[in-house]
Each structure stands twice: as C-alpha cells, then as structure tokens.
Subunit: 412 residues, 2 copies
C-alpha cells in the first residue's frame, strides 16, 4: 500500500530545500595536472608562487633607453643615441646600458637594469650602423611593464570554488603551477530494479524491456558534471534489491534508484532506502507530472532519490533534481537551462497544485515565427522525448496555457 | 617586411566566410558504443531495426479484457468477469483469455492475444477469489499501446547531424542499437614558435616565458568539442618551424600556429603556412583588437590559423574563429555564447572599422543593478582575462560606448 506521505505531494523546489536542510556535502579534493583541469572547480584559493611578469619587459618593438636621454626629442630636433646592439628574444641582456645608449628590443624582451623606457620603432630612425635618431621623447616607464605589475608574489590568483576556464589554465601555468586541487566530481550511482528489465546488450525475450534508465541517467549525470556509476539491475525481490543498493550506496555520493513499474518493486524501494541509513525517506510524492511517485531521501549524509521506473518520468524528474545536487556537492549553483521563446501552437491543460513538464517540438510558422507544438503520446515512452526539441514547464499554480501565448521552452 | 595584405584587414565574419568558401570538410565517422555517444553527432540517419513497443502493452495497472465483455458496465450495473490469474512483470502470457475472462496485468505488461483493452484497477472490485466486478466499460484499445505505435520497424528514429542527448541514447538502446556511427571530432593541432618560449613544466631561466598558448588553446578546443593535439614549441628558425608544422599538419584537421612576438617568427609563419599546401594564406590581418596580425589560410583542404603570440590575443582570436570551424567540421553551426546584460560603468573608446573585444568584470551596484567594468591592462597578459567575467564586443562600425548604457556581456 502507498504510505500516507505519498498523498502529501511536495513541489520540486521544496524537495530541493529538503535536501539542502538534511545534506551537508563534504566533497574531497582531487590533485590533478593543471592541463587536465579545464572546467573543474578549485578546492582551495590559489596564490602565485612568483611575481608576474618575472622581470621588467618591453610592451612594444623598439629601443630600450634611459627616458631622460630622450627628453625634448622631436621630429625637428631628434635625440641621437648610440646603438648597443639587439637583445634577441628569450635572452637576458648581457650588459647594462649607459647614458646615451639604446638597445634594440622586442615585445616581451627584458629591459637592461638602467633602461627605464622603450621608444617604439616607428618613432626612431637609423642614422648609421652605430647610431639612431629618437624622434619622440619617452617618459620613464613608457612602454614598460614592471616586474610584479600583473601579479605580486603570494598574490591571490583564483579563489576557491572557481570553475577553471581556458584563460585560468593559462594563468596557473604562467606562474608555474602544474598541479591543482579540485573538488572531486560526485559519483552518481544508478540502480534499476525490476524483473522485466534486461540489460540493453542482452537478447530481448518476450515480455521483457531493455533497461535504458541506467544509460539515460548516466548521460544526464555526465552532462551536469558528475561521474556516473551503473550498478546494474536488481531482481524484483527485496533481498537482491537491498544488497545491490547497499553495495552501490557505499561506492557513490548520490544514489538514484529507478524501480520498475510493478507494485512490489515500488513498495520495496521505500524500505530499501530506509535501510541505507538515517534519516532515510524524507518525502514520498512530488507535485509534478510526470514524477509523482518520486521518493526524496538522505541516508548517512548522501542524497538518495527513488525515481519512477518509466524512462520519461525517471529522466524528467532526475533533470529537476540532479543538477541541483551535483552543483551543490561542488559548492555551486546549477546554471539555469537555456530557453527559447516560442508561440504555443495548441492549448495545454494542467492542474493547479502540480508542476507539469511537457515535451514540445519547435517549428517555424509561415511568417517565420517560432512555434511550440506539444508532443502528446499515451505511451509516455522515451520516443516522445526524442521527437521533442525541449520542454514546456506549466508552473505549480497555473491551470494550463491557452494557445497563442508566448512561452519559454527549455532546450533539452 | 609585412606583406601588402596585412593592411587590408578583414572583419572576422568575412574571415569565416573565406574559410567557408575555401574549405569543404569531409569528416570521417567513428563507430562507438551508444553508451559512450552522448553529445556526439550522428554521421548517418538511424532507422529502427524493430518496432516499438515490441508487443501490445498495458499503459496502466489493471485487468486485461475483451472490451466487448465490459460494454454497458457501470457502478450500478457492473459486469462480472472470471479472474484468470496475474501476469507477472517481465513474463509473456502463457495462455490466451476467453470471452468473459480478465487477467491481472501491470503497467508495461504484454496483453494476451484476445485481450484488446485494460480496465484500470480503480474501476474494478474483487468479488471473490475467482471473480471481479468491472465498474466501467473499456472500449477496445483503451489503456493499450499497440505494437509499433511509437516506432515502426524501419522507421527513422534520428537524422544525420543530430547531436545525441540523454533521451536519444535511451531511444537507441531501447531498440537494441548498441553502436552508432558518429562524426569524428576534429583534431586541433597547436604549435607555438619562439626562442623565448619554455614548456610550462621546465625550469624558467631569465628572459624566457612559459608557453601557455598550447594549454589555453587546448582547453578552448576541447570546450568546443574538438580533440586538441599539442605539437610542442618550434625554434625561431624557419627549418625547425617548417618541419614541426608539416608533421603536425598531417596529424590534425585544423592547425593553429601561435608565433612568438619576434619579427622573424611572425614573418616565418606566413612562409611556413604557404609551404603546407594550396591555396595557402588567404588573408593576413583581421579588423579586430586584439588580433590584427592574424593569418587566415586553407592548405590542402584544412584550415590553418596563424595566431598572434600574445596569450590574450591568441585566445580571443581563436575564440572568434575556432567554434565556427569545429562546428562546421561536424556539419553544425556554433551555439551563440551565453550573454548577460549589464550597465557599462565606464566609457569605452574604439575605432570605426575595427571590432574590439574588451575584458570586463561584472559587479553589483548599490541598487543591485549589474555593472560591467572594463579591465584595462597595458601588459595584455593573461591575467586581464582571469580577473574578467566576460567580454564586451564593440562592433565594427561603432566608435565606442558611453558610460551608463546597457550592453551584452559574453560570458567567457
């Protein structure tokens, strides 16, 4: 028999709040190479072991000089300086320059100790092999970046919880940081239960269906930045179900159970979850369609979700809950899904007090306007989601939408 | 000396059009397991080898009946049927039903041959062990999904060029497709050139800088769905540069060269690219800042980009060109980048005829409004991109933006 909580359905947002109250994630850190760290989240502040730039550099191609030697120089009254040769890229200056000297230098080149400015090539003219004309004065510091101007030694480069972008990888390597501590990706365990289920790779016998939830939920978990862990198929018998759930629970950080559609499998799920640890089942029943029979639980400080067995329901419920859990595990908030505005082609009925998720196809009207056409399918099989381009959310307290209004379609 | 094309700078959109004209990608297909295929792009139409559902199924928990046996049944005048037992989940019916029979069946269960409807549990009542009352008529086909109703055998499931989503993986496995042909991800080769460059893991000696472009560009390529291939650092000498570029070119589908800031390395790049094959360099110079000295080329039907050596310039130019090339290789258009609206905190100057990309920080004003604060840094080092939350684009024919206007910031 369904338990009493089943009838007190909870809006999905409240279910997420329940997780937030009852679950305090303590993610471990992984030490990985910086090159392998794009998109990972920093487990600690990162400070620079060295100053950047490491030395005073020219920001242009030109001549390193003492600025004071160029004061008053102009097109009509150039300053004449001795050419002290060229500093090749990647080399440190061998000698310092003296008053009245100029050293040919490239962008990024290291200034000799006594040089304090660089005159751009276009403001100079070669007189003869050993002498140049300076046609414009360069103030001290001009076209020069000072050592440590970008980052001081010990300065904070990137804070904890920052997700590493391509430029961050470059910044870390630029100061010689080859390894970083990043927040471990949560392992999302996925266990299916039901005698009717066959692994997709096995021969299909009459009456059986292939267990695709393990794979759709794996793909979803991976999409949102977790590591999926497929735990196989439990028989529709409590002992096998319990055993597999316990083994899987120990190996993962978030556990998804998708119980087959038999009444017994549905009933077992509740008991199996409560056996995994305190506090156990927090809520049975979500105010959402599909997804009403969903179970929300936390056991030994790990979230556990009992999903419906139907592949569409399982995927759409997981999509509402899993991104939040994966992000929260890593100290983040989930990114809101990308949406597209479209005109609703057809009336959509709903029920107040329930959040509906409806697959829609996007099409173009004759006038070029984008139309959202609901995909109705009595089977509720995965193919209704395959022909769809996205999902229409009908919020909790909306009785439906009339045809012709503009709606936001979440791409999925 | 710079070549004449250098001064005829081209807007980035025109550079992309040049690639489109001169480059006809012919991506090979990879055969991979369906489970490993999320986010990959189909190389061919996929048709179903079998019908879905494979057999007539109940869509509810209830009793499989001959609909005609229930005609006229109501609360006040129930129909009485013989109970022929229960069909367990995952089993095929052993016997057919006769007129006047009912078989207990679960959601997803297979109908016996002569049953054509299912009466929901809640519309029935148990009389005694062998008999039930039907309280509502069920028309033939009610609560039944016909074999092949979702997908006919041989029917198109997913078209060529479709990017596989979690539900698509489920749909493929549901019809027993365990392997798919997907478009190969392009290999993006990245070769740096310059005597001043040191691999990031090596000890840094005076005057040298770490080669970070190989890693920022790798991360960028991966972000947009390509496989990066780091080709090392070429010396600032044309023979070494040419040799490494040729070897790398053969191993990749798109080649990025990032030449050091020395004049010679910049000049070599052009010759090296022209040596890779026809038609060679198509354009030298983009109407964009940073990125003016960029080289656009196609050699033997592969795109080649000569990027500036400066890490910020290299990354921002690659970001403008690479997503288009990676998407086009796979028969797609790139996703537009996510943007955020913000009020510009400070005036931004630009030049008509040039597209500028300016790093900005996003902040909150006292009244909660989102502000975009330009990050100016004379060094143009990677750290200006690290402190930034996104980029402001100042379009080609805009002379700049006044403080206080609302702008779109591309998250990067």
């Amino acid at each position: 028999m369904p338990s009493p909580e089943f009838f007190q359905v909870l809006p999905p947002a409240d279910a997420l709040a329940l997780f937030d109250q009852q679950w305090q994630p303590q993610p471990p850190a992984d030490t990985i190479t910086t090159a392998a760290a794009p998109d990972r989240i920093l487990a600690a502040d990162i400070r620079s072991p060295e100053q950047v730039p490491a030395f005073r550099k020219s920001t242009v191609d030109g001549y390193a000089v003492r600025g004071s030697d160029t004061f008053g120089a102009s097109q009509s009254l150039p300053a004449f300086l001795r050419l002290r040769g060229e500093l090749r890229m990647g080399e440190a200056p061998r000698d310092d320059i003296d008053a009245g000297d100029a050293l040919l230098i490239h962008t990024g080149g290291m200034l000799p100790a006594s040089a304090d400015a660089v005159v751009m090539l276009e403001h100079t003219q070669t007189v003869n092999e050993g002498e140049i004309e300076i046609l414009r004065a360069a103030a001290p510091g001009e076209n020069v970046i000072q050592a440590g101007e970008d980052v001081a030694a010990g300065g904070l480069i990137l804070p904890r919880w920052h997700r590493l972008r391509p430029q961050d990888i470059g910044g870390l390597l630029a100061v010689g940081i080859h390894e970083v501590n990043v927040v471990s990706k949560p392992r999302v365990g996925i266990l299916s239960c039901g005698d009717e289920l066959t692994p997709p790779e096995a021969e299909l016998t009459t009456g059986k269906v292939r267990d695709i939830n393990a794979y759709t939920l794996s793909a979803l978990a991976e999409k949102y930045g977790a590591r999926p862990l497929r735990l196989g198929i439990a028989a529709d018998a409590i002992e096998d179900y319990r055993q597999r759930a316990e083994a899987g629970f120990d190996a993962c950080d978030i556990l998804l159970l998708s119980a087959g559609s038999s009444v017994s499998a549905r009933d077992y799920t509740r008991d199996v979850i409560n056996g995994l640890g305190e506090p156990g089942v927090l809520q049975h029943g979500l105010a959402t369609k599909p997804g009403k029979p969903t179970i929300i639980a936390v056991c030994k400080n790990k979230p556990v979700i009992g999903l419906p067995g139907n592949p569409v329901s399982a995927l759409l419920v997981a999509r509402q809950l899993l991104p939040h859990l994966i992000a929260r595990y890593q100290g983040m908030r989930p990114e809101p899904p990308a949406t597209t505005k479209a005109r609703l082609a057809q009336r959509v009925a709903s029920v107040t007090g329930r959040e509906d998720w409806l697959p829609v196809k996007l099409a173009r009207a004759a006038d070029g306007e984008r139309l959202a056409e609901p995909v109705f399918g009595k089977s509720n099989l995965i193919f209704t989601l395959i022909v769809a381009d996205g999902l229409l959310r009908v919020p909790l307290n909306t009785g439906g939408y009339d045809a012709g209004i503009i709606v936001d379609i979440e791409r999925f």
